[in-house]
């Protein structure tokens, strides 16, 4: 068992609790144990906090890292926004002594010190990493293959960019999540402008909902074109935008898509035999039933 401190984030436990449950249960079946990271705060959201005061962003993210340092475990997380904050702040502080000293000044007030002793991972990359888990292990864990389904992948901006501070190689034409999807027995499909933003990030959803939905709508058109049965992603915030967003698009623009949107961990849960109830799929805004009918 590889043990990690599990950073939950905000959206998964509050909006998609099934995603949280799926992460803990699916990972255990492939040799990853997620330990609770007690006392963790918001990551904090990179757009909302980072664009207003970087120092607050650094300090709060660093505090979350310190909690894991105290457990002597690397962090695993399931949200691209959290990844942007916690992975990137950890990366920056490891390479910038001046910033680290500043952050430690602040942390001293709560008797904490950032040491830079751990790494931060997205659970999806741990699933893909053959040293930790790997595609084969995922495939072996499947008891209910998602046969005859076409699934499109949304990677999400904060996972892949900025390229310089990531380690994913070609960030413009990635295929590794597709490999993880294929391991579940589904057929991954390609669509136009795959790497475009979901529309939510960078504070756009909060600041200008209509513009944000415009972007989402363009993605929905491209997804509809290739006849995907479901869209999967590795970010609850992207999930929220595609899921809630489809309802909002219907309200504002009068277009109905009805495309089920599932976090990769929810898909993996289904493929490993978890029930829709266990995954709380009834809390999704877009009805998931058409997809479930194909696989159950």
């Amino acid at each position: 068992m590889h043990e990690y401190a599990f950073f939950l984030g905000c959206i998964a436990p509050n909006r998609y609790p099934g995603c949280e449950a799926a992460s803990i249960k699916t990972s255990e079946k492939v040799g990853i144990k997620l330990l609770p990271l007690e006392g963790a705060s918001c990551c904090p959201a990179p757009g909302a906090f980072g664009s207003i005061d970087l120092n607050i962003w650094y300090a709060m993210a660093a505090r979350n890292v310190v909690l894991a340092e105290q457990m002597d475990r690397d962090i695993a997380l399931i949200c691209n926004g959290c990844y942007k904050s916690i992975y990137e702040v950890n990366h920056i502080l490891k390479h910038n002594d001046e910033l680290r000293d500043g952050v430690n000044e602040v942390l001293k007030e709560i008797d904490m010190e950032y040491k830079g002793s751990i790494d931060v991972w997205h659970l999806a990359e741990l699933y893909y990493d053959p040293k930790i888990c790997g595609v084969d292990k995922i495939r072996e864990s499947v008891t209910r293959p998602l046969s005859d389904t076409k699934i499109a992948v949304h990677y999400g901006c904060h996972l892949m960019k900025p390229r310089k501070e990531r380690h994913f190689g070609d960030t413009d034409h990635p295929m590794w999540i597709e490999e993880l999807v294929a391991a579940l027995g589904a057929e991954p499909v390609q669509y136009r402008n795959k790497m475009q933003c979901c529309g939510a990030g960078g504070g756009v959803r909060g600041f200008d909902l209509e513009h944000s939905l415009d972007i989402t709508n363009e993605k929905m058109i491209n997804l509809q074109e290739v006849g995907a049965d479901a869209l999967t992603e590795v970010c609850p915030f992207c999930q929220l935008q595609y899921d809630r967003g489809q309802i909002e698009i219907e309200e504002k623009f009068g277009i109905k898509y009805g495309l089920p949107v599932l976090h990769y961990n929810e898909l993996l849960g289904l493929a490993q035999g978890m029930s829709p109830d266990e995954l709380a799929l009834d809390l999704h805004a877009v009805d998931v039933t058409p997809f479930l009918e194909k696989i159950l």
Partner: protein, 670 residues
């Protein structure tokens, strides 16, 4: 050794107009010099480098019976030879001169601190005087120069250099690693701004190279090892197994009237098909091949990586017996006096800029691929077509500075210098060849700097090419039509743009060719930060290198277009021919000397020497170090290290350096 007599030093302080006098009190420095030990004369002058200034030095040497001279002026890189000559004319050994740099390292950088600059100048003069007091007579050595030269690389630069050397009566080895000479220029369709057919102007030169009786053309050959020094380079070449014999080689094997005559009978029967590198794999070739019909030498080559040795070609060749499928690499040693490196360039692997989708999207090509596709002798007979469907593209986007002037970490920070111009030419070519074609040039700046270049730029504007100033953010392919969406901001209109085109041509950055680094290191040539080979001086010695006798030509030294490449090649050929025509070269006497009585023969210095100038030899029954003076650069690595203090660095002796340090640290107190 001259009779030891008390040092008598003359100091000359230069005003350099106001260059020095503007921020240094020259009078004060001169007066200070007069107070220094061993100084018997000090003077100042407006321009010491002028004829009267030099006369001042020669006269003073005689008048004051000087044993050494010090000039406080500019950098020794500029006028050290001048003042050495003046010292010599005055009757002293020229190495009894020392220079204090009070301009580049003082007045120019301390313009606003006259007092501080003056004090610093006094320090510099004091240090120079301390060294000058201990200088010794040195006699430069001469070595004979082999009457032959080598040119590495058979592109237009190497060909031009070899032709110039050959025509000057010098035996020249032209080394090319591919099967034919011609280089990048032979892959181009037309040249800017004159729109000459590139092959038409190049092939006569290729033929000349093949026929020149002084040029020994060695294709499919690489440099394996370089030993020796200016005048006497011993170079080992690896003649790669080509599988095909020339008529001469056949005759040497006793096959009369045989050898390859370029008939091509072998190609027809060869069953192996592979991509032709010359066409960027857009056309096939066989395992036995020539790149194109105009190759020089007109000689086939077997690609042993793909050859299945079926022997059909051997049969087809028949009585000529030109093909030997068991051929192995051969090492050949040649001796030359000087060498020119002309290794050229490759394109930066533009697929690394993943946002533009090269190698992912079929209709995104590079500028060099465009050259082949638009060239009448290319794979499509000069019809520009989309690789995805063979259709003629109408709307074509040209992405300039693709990977050049790029500080993102993926790409090159420098300007590749010829992409603006060839992209303009490409725009012209599609307008000319394809009715209704519309080129879009997406640019940062158009750099049309050469003769008739700006006029060419205007011409292409008038022909209807559209210019959009903006860096391309990303390119997306329409999965159905395979058209491309180019996303950028028109920074003049301040508007984001989604431009749908049929084809994208990336004017990719250029970088030193693979293997250039290895060749550079064999010849002891440095490179600049960006990886290009380093010239001896960017302004005043652009063809030379810091390794005496090794010169540079063409893009291996930095991106340049054909006219600049040919000009540099002629310059390099001229520079490389000078030592050969003189017949001997004088070496600066800054070499190490071994005191054999002190040398313990430990051999540590031998491994430390960066120039392989040292060796352990047996003398009187024990091992001692010996210096090959011609190879030694006087860097002092060995001298500084020697545990026994047995190595004497001429002109930079330990007592001289200690005297300089003392003079500085003790502030003149002895």
């Amino acid at each position: 050794m001259a009779e030891k007599k008390e040092a008598r030093i003359g100091v000359f302080v230069c005003h350099c107009g106001t260059n020095i006098a503007g921020s240094i009190d020259v009078e004060a420095v001169k007066e200070y010099a007069r107070t220094l030990p061993n100084v018997v004369h000090a003077d100042d002058y407006q321009y010491v480098c002028s004829t009267p200034g030099q006369t001042m030095i020669t006269d003073a040497i005689k008048e004051h019976d000087l044993t050494g001279t010090v000039v406080a002026a500019c950098s020794p890189r500029l006028h050290e030879p001048t003042f050495r000559m003046a010292t010599k004319v005055g009757g002293l050994n020229p190495f009894r001169f020392e220079m204090a740099n009070i301009r580049e390292q003082n007045s120019w950088v301390h313009m606003h601190d006259r007092e501080g600059a003056t004090e610093k100048a006094k320090d510099a003069v004091r240090i120079a005087v301390a060294k000058a007091s201990l200088l010794e007579d040195l006699i430069p050595k001469s070595v004979p120069v082999e009457h032959a030269a080598m040119v590495v690389g058979g592109g237009v630069a190497g060909m031009q250099a070899a032709l110039d050397l050959g025509n000057a009566g010098i035996k020249t080895y032209l080394i090319e690693r591919s099967p034919t000479i011609g280089g990048r220029m032979s892959q181009l369709d037309k040249t800017f701004p004159t729109l000459d057919c590139s092959q038409c102007i190049l092939t006569p030169k290729m033929v000349d190279v093949g026929r020149n009786e002084n040029i020994e053309l060695m294709t499919y050959t690489e440099v394996a090892e370089v030993e020796g020094y200016i005048g006497n380079f011993e170079i080992t070449l690896r003649k790669k197994a080509r599988g095909v014999l020339t008529p001469d080689e056949a005759e040497a094997r006793g096959i009369v009237g045989g050898g390859c005559n370029g008939c091509g009978d072998c190609v027809e029967v060869c069953p192996v098909i592979k991509g032709n590198e010359f066409e960027f794999e857009m056309a096939p070739r066989k395992a036995i091949y020539i790149y194109h019909p105009q190759v020089v030498p007109n000689l086939y080559t077997v690609d042993f990586n793909t050859c299945i040795k079926c022997g059909l070609c051997v049969e087809a060749c028949g009585e000529k017996k030109a093909i030997d499928l068991e051929m192995v690499d051969e090492l050949i040693k040649v001796k030359v006096g000087t060498a020119i490196l002309a290794t050229g360039y490759d394109l930066f692997p533009i697929e690394n800029k993943t946002e533009w989708g090269y190698k992912k999207y079929e209709n995104v090509i590079t500028g060099l691929e465009f050259e082949r596709l638009i060239c009448a002798s290319g794979p499509t007979g000069g019809h520009l077509v989309r690789p995805s469907d063979g259709e003629t593209p109408k709307k074509v986007a040209f992405v300039l500075c693709a990977g050049s002037r790029d500080n993102t970490g993926v790409g090159k920070p420098y300007c590749s210098r010829f992409c603006c111009m060839y992209s303009l030419k490409h725009a012209h070519q599609i307008i000319e060849k394809i009715p209704g074609a519309q080129p879009y040039l997406l640019y940062m700046d158009i750099r049309s700097f050469g003769k008739m270049y700006e006029e060419f730029y205007y011409r292409i504007q008038d022909e209807g090419a559209k210019f959009i100033r903006g860096r391309v953010a990303n390119i997306l392919e329409d999965p159905v039509t395979k058209n491309l969406h180019v996303f950028t901001e028109d920074t003049l209109l301040q508007r984001p743009i989604d431009l749908e085109v049929d084809m994208v041509v990336l004017a990719s950055a250029v970088q030193p060719t693979t293997g250039a680094d290895a060749v550079r290191k064999l010849f002891g040539v440095s490179c600049s930060q960006d990886g290009w080979m380093l010239e001896a001086h960017p302004k005043l010695n652009p063809c030379g290198t810091t390794t005496a006798g090794v010169f540079l030509a063409g893009v291996c030294q930095g991106p340049k277009d054909i006219p600049d490449t040919v000009a540099q090649a002629e310059g390099a050929a001229s520079a490389a021919s000078i030592p050969i025509h003189r017949g001997e070269v004088e070496l600066e006497p800054y070499f190490a000397q071994c005191n054999e009585e002190l040398c313990a023969g430990c051999g540590m210095c031998v491994n430390l020497c960066p120039y392989s100038a040292l060796a352990l030899v047996e003398k009187d029954g024990r091992k001692v170090m010996e210096v090959t003076e011609a190879k030694c650069k006087g860097c002092g690595t060995c001298g500084g290290f020697c545990p026994g203090g047995a190595i004497h660095m001429q002109h930079f002796t330990t007592p001289q350096i200690v005297a300089q340090i003392d003079a500085f640290l003790l502030g003149g107190e002895q």
